[in-house]
């Protein structure tokens, strides 16, 4: 039951002394796309970073089972190699390191000692994915995220996702800062990856992205936990009525 999903159980996370996530539970089965929506400051990005093992986020309770194995307390790179990918809301610049070399290093870190990447095959795959994401091939020699526009950064994140083929991916506000054309390109890149082999968790503030990446389930995050779950209709409802009705419902409940 737990072996084919990302199963988060009763997770409590704090930054310093400040509790952010409280008793958070969610299961994302492989092959499905789940969306997490919620207003700013409710803990959406905290969830992403805590799962990825960021040292500033302390998990005080609960566990997160990646295909049955708890990843809480593991090193960020162990978690990544175990199959969890996170597309960053604000991707970091790495001056002097080209995209091609960076992705190659990431792939190489997954190989056994002594194994080597086939360079010809690697570039063939890289170009294929770049074409799909409408990224100019010249970008292979550009430094990672350095001087990129917002849209270029997000496409570069999806390119890495496509190249690394993780079992689970968290997309942290991948739509922020994108115009509608860039959004469509990113969404089609994500949709091309959907399939039985990957579970995705799409974190977003707006329903807009979910018109293009249609989720199998939508969850509303409020004050550090999920307060409402439903199908894509829930996202429409949020779009039409805002988050206030959830607030009211919580108060009256």
């Amino acid at each position: 039951m737990t072996t084919n999903s990302l199963q988060i159980e009763n997770l409590a996370v704090q930054i310093g002394d400040k509790p952010i996530l409280k008793n958070f539970s969610l299961t994302v089965p492989k092959g499905e796309v789940h969306a997490i929506m919620g207003p700013n400051g409710t803990g959406k990005s905290t969830l992403a970073k805590a799962l990825a093992g960021h040292p500033d986020y302390t998990v005080t309770e609960g566990r997160a089972l990646l295909d049955g194995t708890d990843i809480i307390g593991k090193e960020p790179d162990e978690i990544a190699r175990a199959g969890l990918f996170m597309a960053f809301q604000y991707p970091t610049e790495i001056p002097g390191v080209s995209i091609a070399n960076f992705i190659r290093a990431a792939l190489t870190s997954r190989l056994e000692e002594g194994e080597e990447l086939d360079a010809v095959q690697y570039y063939r795959r890289l170009y294929e994915k770049m074409d799909l994401l409408k990224i100019d091939r010249k970008f292979t020699s550009r430094s990672v995220n350095e001087g990129f526009s917002g849209g270029e950064k997000k496409r570069c994140e999806i390119l890495q996702l496509a190249m690394l083929e993780p079992s689970y991916a968290i997309l942290d506000e991948t739509d922020s800062g994108l115009d509608i054309d860039a959004l469509k390109v990113v969404a089609s890149g994500v949709n091309a990856m959907r399939g039985a082999g990957i579970g995705m968790l799409v974190i977003t503030h707006y329903q807009r992205l979910l018109n293009y990446i249609v989720p199998d389930a939508v969850h509303v995050l409020w004050d550090g936990r999920i307060v409402q779950s439903g199908d894509k209709g829930l996202a429409m409802q949020l779009e039409a009525n805002g988050y206030d009705w959830i607030k009211e419902e919580l108060v009256t409940a």
Binding site: A52, G53, H54, P55, E75, P76, D77, I79, A80, R81, F85, M86, F88, P91, T92, E93, I94, P95, G96, V97, N101, F102, I103, A105, A106, L107, S109, R110, S143, Q160, L164
Partner: protein, 468 residues
Amino acid sequence: MQSQPTLEIDRDKGDFHYDTKYEYDAGVGLSEATVNYISSVKGEPEWLHEFRLKALDIFNRKPMPTHWATKDLENIHFDKIRYYLASGQRPSRTWEEVPDDIKETFERLGVPEQERKFLAGVEAQFDSEAAYSNMKEELSKEGVIFVGSTEGLKEHPEIFRKWFGKVIPIGDNKFSALNSAVFSGGSFIYVPPGVKVKQPLQAYFRNNAENFGQFERTLIIADEGSEVTYMEGCTAPKFESTTLHSAVVELIAMPGARMQYITVQNWSNNVFNLVTKRGMAMEDATIKWIDCNIGSRLTMKYPAVILRGKRARGEVLSIALANDGQHQDTGAKMIHAADETTSNIVAKSISVGKGRSTYRGLVHIPRHLKNCRNNTECDALLINSNSRTDTYPAISVRGDGNSVQHEASVSKVSEDQIFYMRQRGLNEGEAMSLAVNGFVNDLIREFPMEYSVELKRLIEIEMEGSVG
């Protein structure tokens, strides 16, 4: 004042040592007798013997430059160093003639392989004397001389004596005086007018005796319109007590000549590496120093170019990496002495842990010169908050027709960068070394391919040891 613990860092291939029997040994300590011994064993002419004695006198009288440099220099015990060891006097010409134990050391270093692959000639120094030296026939046919310094002064005195000690006089500094007194080994190269040596000439230097200072002396003359690239790579085995390396390298680029001198250095962290390197560029000549300093306890090295002829050009590209317990005090000097001369300095330093990097530069353009230009860029990268970096650029530019541009930056490998890379699967060491490689990448591109690969590997080894 400071105590410096001996740090245990694996240095890959550099960390091995074979017992070698030395036929000649000048004993411990430095006196006139030491100098006399070296000179007589080498069968040197009287002028050189006198040169050495004069140098010893200057060395003894010059104070240690601790008023501007680090006090760690006081920890060099000159009376405990061996100044001369040689396993034989004549450099071996063929591989078969090389003694087996020495061969074993070289095989581990990959010298013969390297030669087969891409070298035009090999001059590999084993302790004081070149144990193996070879030149491809085509080069000798063109009149290129590539021999050890001892052989050079004996067989080509007319060229050797004319330039020896002219770019770097004995009394330039305390350590150039020391080298002038006890030097042995090093290369002598002469490239005749118009000859363009296509492949880099290469020498390997190794220390293989505890407490043995290596004082090689290199003199390279590129005659009119010729071109030559020289590469040296230094690795030394690790020992408990301090070792002193103090070389002198003089380059002369005659009108229109182009010279490139490349160093990738990986000393073990007990070595004091105090080197004087200077070139003189005549009209339309170019001298380029590419200098990478990794390892050592203290490196003090400021490659210089004297721009003596019109339109001469000098360049220094340097990379320094200071790990825990290491101090890289490096930089460059550009002395403009003719109109329309140009110089370029790009220095990148990386400080890791308690490692310390210092950039010291000097650019001098006097008032009477016209249309001279200098560009200086110094970038420092700090790997953690304990690291220290200093920049001392001394730029004296006078006169209206001259221009100078100076940029300096200090940056850090941020936690965000490391987390980003680790989220992609790289461990902390791999992430760090990728960030450092990125920092030096634009400089490394200037290197011949085989050296850039070696340098990247050295950086990886250093970074692996730097994260807990």
